[in-house]
């Protein structure tokens, strides 16, 4: 879908027509309408095929970094799925492999030293691990948009933001300079930049952090991607701006039907934004489930710990924040054990001897990687 969605939703004759902000823009919108119509028809035809499959299926994805100290198992046999239009949270401590997972999905892991060593990533029916680098490049920015953590450093300081937004629209959608610029203006106002047309020629340093992240979102959405990878999009922003940016991501993804993988270490954000959550620890997914279910009934001690460490409003003032004891393991020396065992208050011998697998808890939607809650063996609770 394109940014003309707004116009299409306006039902002629309904009171909404009166809200059309700018009548001068109407002819432009109408001329796009036919193209939009054709696109819609094609989309409907696709819809049936899509219902049968997921937008994204990741199977046994492993990414390793080959350093002089040894092989770092940054992402270790990660598998998950994502529906069209779904928002999935990827949650965990720093260094647990969230970002590398996201980079691996677009094959952007810096090589050397990084390498995707195994796995399949089926995106919209295509295994992107089998694509040539040129085919992969065409997917990036067009079908998969990326929002990075720090908007201060993620925008090019020597190029105008108008150029940086229009650039991928020109490349991927084959728009003329003029059309790409119009599209960039549209996107800018959509992400909430006032006086968008006047600000096209401004440089990133002329924007505040929150505004820059809005620009980043406009860049990521420039070609109306099916999947948006948001890697800690609000970590570098102050709290009031965080809420605005998250709300923006949510409303735009709803509007465009974009699926989102939201990487965050903030469980509150995950709870508010996501349909489902994957908890990652030491390069592995340790628990996955529908967000309410997982937050109410976590089945893995690390997920408990994470939830417990959230500061709570109903707590007595002055009580200490709870933390998870110890440090995440070093990912060079990984063995056949539960990686959380050294920090786990419930660990038993089996946790150090054998690696637990992601298995079902309560239902097929809730999986956890823990001997202690493994059905038939559970000793926790």
């Amino acid at each position: 879908m394109t940014a003309t969605d707004d116009d299409r939703r306006v039902d002629p004759g309904s009171p909404a027509v009166a809200e059309l902000p700018d009548t001068e823009k109407l002819p432009e919108a109408v001329s796009l309408e036919t193209e939009e119509g054709r696109r819609l028809a094609a989309q409907l035809a696709d819809e049936k095929a899509r219902h049968a499959r997921k937008l994204l299926e990741v199977r046994d994805l492993s990414t390793q970094f080959f350093t002089k100290d040894g092989v770092v198992h940054a992402v270790d046999r990660v598998s998950f799925e994502l529906d069209y239009g779904e928002t999935l949270g990827l949650v965990g401590e720093s260094g647990c492999g969230k970002s590398v997972t996201a980079l691996s999905l677009t094959r952007l892991v810096p090589d050397p030293p990084g390498k995707i060593t195994s796995g399949e990533v089926i995106f919209d029916g295509v295994d992107i691990m089998k694509l040539s680098s040129e085919e992969m490049r065409l997917l990036r920015g067009k079908r998969i948009g990326f929002i990075f953590q720090d908007p201060m450093t993620s925008l090019n300081p020597t190029l105008t933001i108008g150029f940086q937004i229009a650039e991928s629209a020109r490349l991927h959608l084959g728009l003329s300079n003029r059309a790409a610029n119009d599209r960039a203006v549209e996107l800018l106002s959509k992400v909430g930049i006032p006086r968008a047309r006047d600000r096209m020629g401004d440089y990133p340093h002329q924007f505040s952090g929150g505004m820059r992240q809005r620009v980043m979102i406009a860049i990521a959405l420039a070609c109306d991607p099916m999947l948006l990878l948001a890697d800690e999009p609000t970590t570098a922003l102050d709290v009031t701006i965080q809420a605005q940016i998250l709300e923006l991501i949510r409303s735009l993804s709803d509007e465009f039907g974009t699926a989102v993988i939201l990487i965050t270490h903030d469980l509150g954000i995950a709870a508010g934004m996501c349909h489902r959550v994957n908890v990652m620890y030491a390069g592995q997914i340790v628990e996955t489930g529908v967000v309410d279910d997982l937050f109410e009934n976590p089945r893995m001690p690390y997920a408990w710990g994470l939830l417990d460490s959230l500061p709570r409003l109903d707590e007595e003032r002055g009580s200490r924040l709870r933390t998870i004891e110890g440090m995440p393991p070093d990912l060079i020396h990984v063995g056949d054990d539960c990686r959380f065992a050294p920090r786990c208050p419930y660990s038993r011998d089996i946790c150090l001897e054998d690696e637990p697998q992601l298995t079902e808890r309560e239902g097929p939607d809730h999986l956890a990687r823990c001997w202690g809650t493994e059905p038939g063996r559970a000793w926790i609770e």
């Binding site: 990036r140 090019n156 650039e167």
Partner: protein, 307 residues
């Protein structure tokens, strides 16, 4: 920006004044005068006295300075004390051009070869193009221009007869001196460009550019080069000034009628007028180059604005 440039140009006046005073004092503090060089056959005292009177060298030094300034302000650079019958203005006018040509062409070569060398080295870090480029850079920096000049003459003039050994009469005369003089510049520019490109490669906005699915070539040319160029520009101004003013050795090897030779001779011969004129010329040149660099910064990096 215009105000800024005007102010910077106005600043040239005090700079030139200070440089001229220091040069004037140092020059006179050095033993000997134009007519009493340290290691020359001495002239009879009566002759020296008459010559000094004729050129005003018997006056107190501050009077001499004031006189010199007065002449300068009237556009008169004064006579050469050693080259009979020629004014300093003539000498400079006749010889400056060859130095400027040599320096500018060497500079252009340094930029045209140095930047691609550095870029290629950075993009193929620790692969053979990088090693080759580093090898060329080390050679370029370690080899003095006169060694390079003599080697070039030996190979391309004496042995292969491709280019003339000396002179400055046309394009075929330019090749060897320009190559000899630019060796150091190429190496310097390549090294800076490589380091700067490697730095930029790791920047977040390059990852953003990759995530947009841009072609490798436009990532390099549109997103990286301009940012990588900012530190390189810093060395380009002094490099150009240095190539124009510092070509004395190469001018000597190739018998090029440049100003460098006159400058060095003038110092040895205490040719006061010529020393002063060339020094000031160089001072202005370097100051202007620095201004050009600063303006170029603002043009390349939109974050820099002068007021």
């Amino acid at each position: 920006m215009t105000t800024y440039i005007i102010r910077r140009v106005a600043w040239l006046i005090p700079v030139v004044f200070v440089v001229s005073v220091i040069t004037f004092l140092l020059m006179h503090a050095a033993p000997g005068t134009p007519f009493q060089p340290v290691s020359d056959r001495p002239l009879p005292p009566a002759v020296i006295e008459r010559l000094e009177e004729q050129f005003g060298l018997n006056e107190p030094i501050y009077i001499q300075y004031v006189n010199w300034v007065g002449n300068i302000l009237q556009g008169d650079l004064g006579p050469s004390y050693r080259i009979r019958g020629r004014g300093v203005s003539d000498i400079i006018a006749d010889n400056m051009w060859a130095s400027v040509q040599l320096g500018t062409m060497s500079f252009a070569l340094a930029v045209i070869l140095g930047i691609p060398l550095g870029v290629i080295a950075a993009l193929r870090q620790n692969k053979w193009p990088d090693y080759l480029s580093t090898f060329i850079s080390v050679i370029g920096i370690a080899t003095p221009s006169f060694v390079l000049a003599v080697l070039l003459v030996l190979i391309f003039s004496v042995t292969l007869h491709w280019f003339p050994t000396s002179g400055w009469r046309g394009p075929e005369y330019w090749v060897l001196p320009v190559v000899a003089l630019s060796g150091y510049g190429i190496a310097q520019v390549a090294r800076y460009t490589r380091a700067s490109m490697l730095e930029v490669t790791r920047r977040d906005y390059v990852r953003t550019a990759q995530s947009k699915g841009l072609k490798e070539r436009s990532i390099v040319t549109v997103h990286m080069l301009r940012n990588a160029f900012i530190p390189v520009v810093t060395i380009l101004g002094p490099l150009l000034a240095g190539l124009i003013t510092g070509s004395f050795v190469v001018e000597s090897v190739f018998a090029i009628p440049g100003i460098g030779r006159f400058f060095v001779d003038a110092i040895f011969q205490r040719d006061y007028g010529l020393i002063m004129a060339v020094t000031l010329l160089y001072a202005v040149l370097i100051a202007v180059m620095n201004l050009v660099v600063d303006v170029a910064y603002a043009w390349i990096d939109p974050r820099i604005r002068y007021s």
